[in-house]
Amino acid sequence: MNDLYDDALVALAKAKDGAGRLDAPDGTASVDNPLCGDRVTIDVTLDGARVDGFAQKARGCILTQAAAGMIARHAHGLDAGDIEALRARVRDFLSSAGDGADWPEMALFEPVRTVRSRHDCVLIAFDALLEATRKARDERA
């Protein structure tokens, strides 16, 4: 059927890396997808300016869950600037330019390029991470 749902992508979503909530996050953010009412919530703790602890709760489609799971695997050590740059690269990747994030899972999202209405499903997880990290940083400042 639709090649959007490569087995590896489905597996990434089902793996639910980082799923759950942190007990004492430094920052938390929830982002909705107004298209469908989906919601990603991300908790982080920081070490200095960089992400240390991470948890995600993705109520949404395979794409949203897979994106949140991918982020869980790689968020450690990023600061808000890194995340902002990353988000921009992923957005460009989806609009068919550039390589996106430097992560092996990124390739699984290539078929999403052709479906503009689903780009946000991927991006909201990055939005939530960025917002949570900024909040944590500002909280400390």
Binding site: M1, N2, V10, C36, G37, D38, G60, L63
Partner: protein, 399 residues
Amino acid sequence: MKAIRAEFPIFDAQGSPFHYLDNAATSQLCAPAAHALHAFETTARANVKRGVHKLADAATVAFDDARATMAAFVGAASPEEVIFTSGTTMSINMAARCLTPRLREGDEILLSELEHHSDIVPWQMAAQARGARVRAIPVTSDGRLDLEALPDLVGPRTRIVAVTHLSNVSGAVSDLSVIRAAAPEAIMLVDGAQRAAHGPIDVRAIGCDLYALSSHKMFGPTGAGMLWGRMDLLESLPPFLGGGEMIREVRIDGTRYADPPHRFEAGTPPIGAVLGMAAAARWLQSRDRRVLHDHEMRLTGRILDGLATLPGIRLVGPQGLQGRAGIVAFEVEDVHAHDVCQMLDGNGVALRGGHHCAQPLMRALGLVATARASLAPYNDDDDIDALIEGVGKVIERLR
């Protein structure tokens, strides 16, 4: 039904597989509507209402004829009761704004939890402007209006009742006669956006005061719709939009307005789309509606039966064929509606997924998003086969 398919140009254009089951979002355009729209726009275009030259006169005549056609389509008492708009949303907003000055603090507007956002938000705005209160008829767990709650919801302050004729999510047909009888004094608007493609409309039999519909959901072009209103009500309402064609006299310090329907039609109307809508209405009326209905019910039955054989499906709406039309929303346990739709798309099946602009209904039923299949006369058994097979694969792969 092969013959009907041939009257919809898209099927030739799209080839196969093309199982279009997203008709509640927008239907496909029938050939007579395509012709009326295209012919007007490319071979006979002129503005209506004020022109003296041949083309303008012909356009005005065609526009008046379209008004008569739409009046007949909904069973209006006269063509002057038909106001052309850009669609249902515009029609309901117009009604809500024109009625706003009548509301007083503490008055009530009765909606339902089944309503589309277009039949909720305009009334919230009206209520807010006047300190009125919005109440809602609850839904039953199978997506019907819970009319047993009516007596508690209708009172002496119920000024307006605005309800859907046919739910765009559950497919339930509202029992409008019960509602009309429960609130005989209220002004009653019926949202007929979905009904227009699924059954005959008789505003006088319903006994409502206002009725709204959209061209694009009844095989006409995008960009047109209508608001029908009882003439004595329309005559008592102020205009909504200001502009050309709706005036009798304009001075910088004040303006006198024209009679209905012109009072409510400011500016150049969507002429091509209106002519197309009228052509679509004539097309629908030239069919045997009984045959269309039986076909729709048969396919609906096949969808309900087919889904019942699959594990983890939750139907949103009446389980049987009684009191429903061919709009079927469902949830696949543990699979997001967008994934359902996206995978089905890979099978050539076009569904809609999401809240269907009916968040209060979703909330009432404890849902976030559902997939929805919605039928039109051109759908056939192949479409149903592809749907059921596709949902089966989704369950296998993603659940």
